[in-house]
Symmetry: C2
Subunit: 342 residues, 2 copies
């Protein structure tokens, strides 16, 4: 059995949609064992709605809930019977391999860094979503955990996301691009210029140079490295654009009898298109750099999103993400490559 | 007559598509007088293909061409008979009101700052495209002229883009948001936190707080302020997303006989949708902060893009963009608001 902790109290549709996602995941994977963290009575009431293999489920009663208005680090410290307890359970039990939550991003990051802890040698954890592109998905790392970055952090993100591309997407030698405001070598601010230099020299990283925002969806590279500020801007700009186009499409397709008839002929094509652009497919962003697999799902997660997040967490664990990172860290002697930073 | 200089040697389809755009613009606006800058023989050969009012056209022979591989500031200094000559003509003739070019962004910015010059009191010029949103367009300023910014620059961008929203989009009291990695007041790095404080205190600016990447396409605000690095990331991420979705749609619509029939019923709706999402509608990005109206069109500009850029330049000039900026600068005493920066 592979054990995953699922926080069911976070997210707009919690706990109902999250518990439904848990039941789906249990059906999909017979080697999955779920530790469902949250308010026990609410979890039991939701679980009672479904048939599931109760021998692969236990409940970790967490009466406290960390809300979107809580200050993350304070909430993680003060609300012990919450996501905090889930993180302690994850840390203390060797046979528990990962955690999935659709709760407050800040709290998930804070708990990951303060309780679970980072892989030895990793400076900062980074959020890494898989963004749909024309061929599959592009990994964008970091997209919000670190608003300010130093070159050594960006270099570590390249290493972490390369390990994720290997363990999660079966890419043997994932290509890595640095998000910049142009593709030429000299482009960008001093942070980008310095990072470019170090990435070019890093062993074990397939660095292909600077890339631009458009390359994320074009899928020209497997991994895009960014500071958390501009990565967040890119991710949310893409989200806004996709929503605008799909909303405009919907409106126009209903705008005349002809186009409404037309859209009926096209239901299959529209369904396939939406599937190709599915932001829920991977269930959320991986919080990279921690000692175990942690996935932050979107606040609006539906049951299928949660089931995908659990599936993804299992798969990444089974493909040995963490040992891969440790192995790469040993090979790449970053301390020797990058001078001490202020 | 309102005189505009059109550089026809820049852009992927130059000079043919640019000259065709010029002819279109002359037809659309009878008060337009065009000074066509570029290689005279090539311009004459292209013009000979069309009927147009020759009394409203003159040619400024510029045998030198600044290419995409030239270093912008060096090219502007060394290649005198090029965009450089066009900029000098713009500077020296009071009756010439603006310039349009689809050439090298770097050269357009360098020529604007080194030859034409900035409005008195403005620290830096900024690129400001109008990005389609669900209700119209959002102005994004800066999106690439300044990779590194200080708070005073971002505050000036807010002022410049607000003047553009008034002169170009008829918004009486345009709302302004600061691009950040979250909407809460404390969000972002020190640059964002400081800028937030000053924008909140600026007279004559309708600052509504932090916005996220998704708000650009949602159209929740009229103006989004960004440093040139993250603005560029946002713009290009949106471009990549839009292209990916339209390409996926096209592919899926041709994927089966049913969907092909369906798409025929929907031609009208698809056309209206594309029109709503038209990135060519405004012809390019305004280079704000200069003494006259300068528009940088996309390198891939088609004739209609160039005609739109000329139309947009005329309209902004006629609505008094530059006097509006000067008036706002006087009202907002930025030097008094923001302490001297390093």
């Amino acid at each position: 059995m592979d054990k995953i902790i699922l926080d069911v109290m976070g997210g707009d549709n919690a706990p109902a949609a999250i518990v439904e996602g848990a039941v789906r995941a249990l059906k999909d994977d017979k080697r999955l064992y779920l530790i469902i963290a949250g308010r026990e009575a609410e979890i039991k009431a939701e679980l009672a709605k479904y048939k599931y293999d109760a021998s692969r489920v236990e409940i970790l009663d967490c009466p406290d809930v960390i809300g979107m208005n809580d200050v993350p680090t304070e909430a993680i410290k003060n609300k012990q019977a919450s996501l905090t307890a889930a993180y302690w359970h994850l840390k203390k039990n060797d046979d528990v391999c990962g955690l999935v939550s659709a709760g407050s991003t800040g709290a998930i990051i804070a708990g990951g860094q303060l309780i679970l802890g980072r892989i030895r040698g990793i400076k900062r954890a980074a959020l890494c979503p898989a963004i749909p592109n024309v061929n599959g998905a592009t990994l964008l790392c970091d997209c919000g955990a670190n608003a300010e970055c130093k070159p050594s952090m960006l270099c570590q993100f390249a290493l972490l996301a390369s390990a994720y591309a290997q363990a999660g997407f079966d890419k043997a030698n994932p290509s890595v691009g640095l998000l910049n405001n142009g593709t030429e070598e000299h482009k960008g601010d001093p942070l980008r210029q310095e990072t470019y230099k170090y990435l070019s020299q890093m062993q074990g990283i397939n660095f292909v140079g600077n890339v631009e925002g458009r390359d994320i969806n074009y899928g020209n590279v497997d991994v895009v490295i960014a500071d958390g500020f501009s990565g967040n801007v890119a991710l949310k700009s893409i989200e806004g654009c996709a929503k605008m186009i799909l909303a405009t499409m919907k409106k126009q397709f209903k705008s005349s009898p002809a186009s409404l008839i037309g859209s009926l002929f096209m239901l299959g094509a529209i369904k396939r298109m939406k599937k190709g652009l599915d932001f829920d497919k991977y269930g959320g962003a991986l919080l990279l750099g921690l000692k175990k697999v942690v996935i932050k799902s979107h606040g609006t997660s539906k049951p299928v999103t949660i089931a995908n997040a659990i599936k993804n967490a299992l798969s990444i664990y089974r493909n040995g993400l963490i040992p891969k990172v440790e192995e790469m860290l040993e090979k790449v002697d970053l301390d020797n490559l990058i001078p001490v930073e202020e």
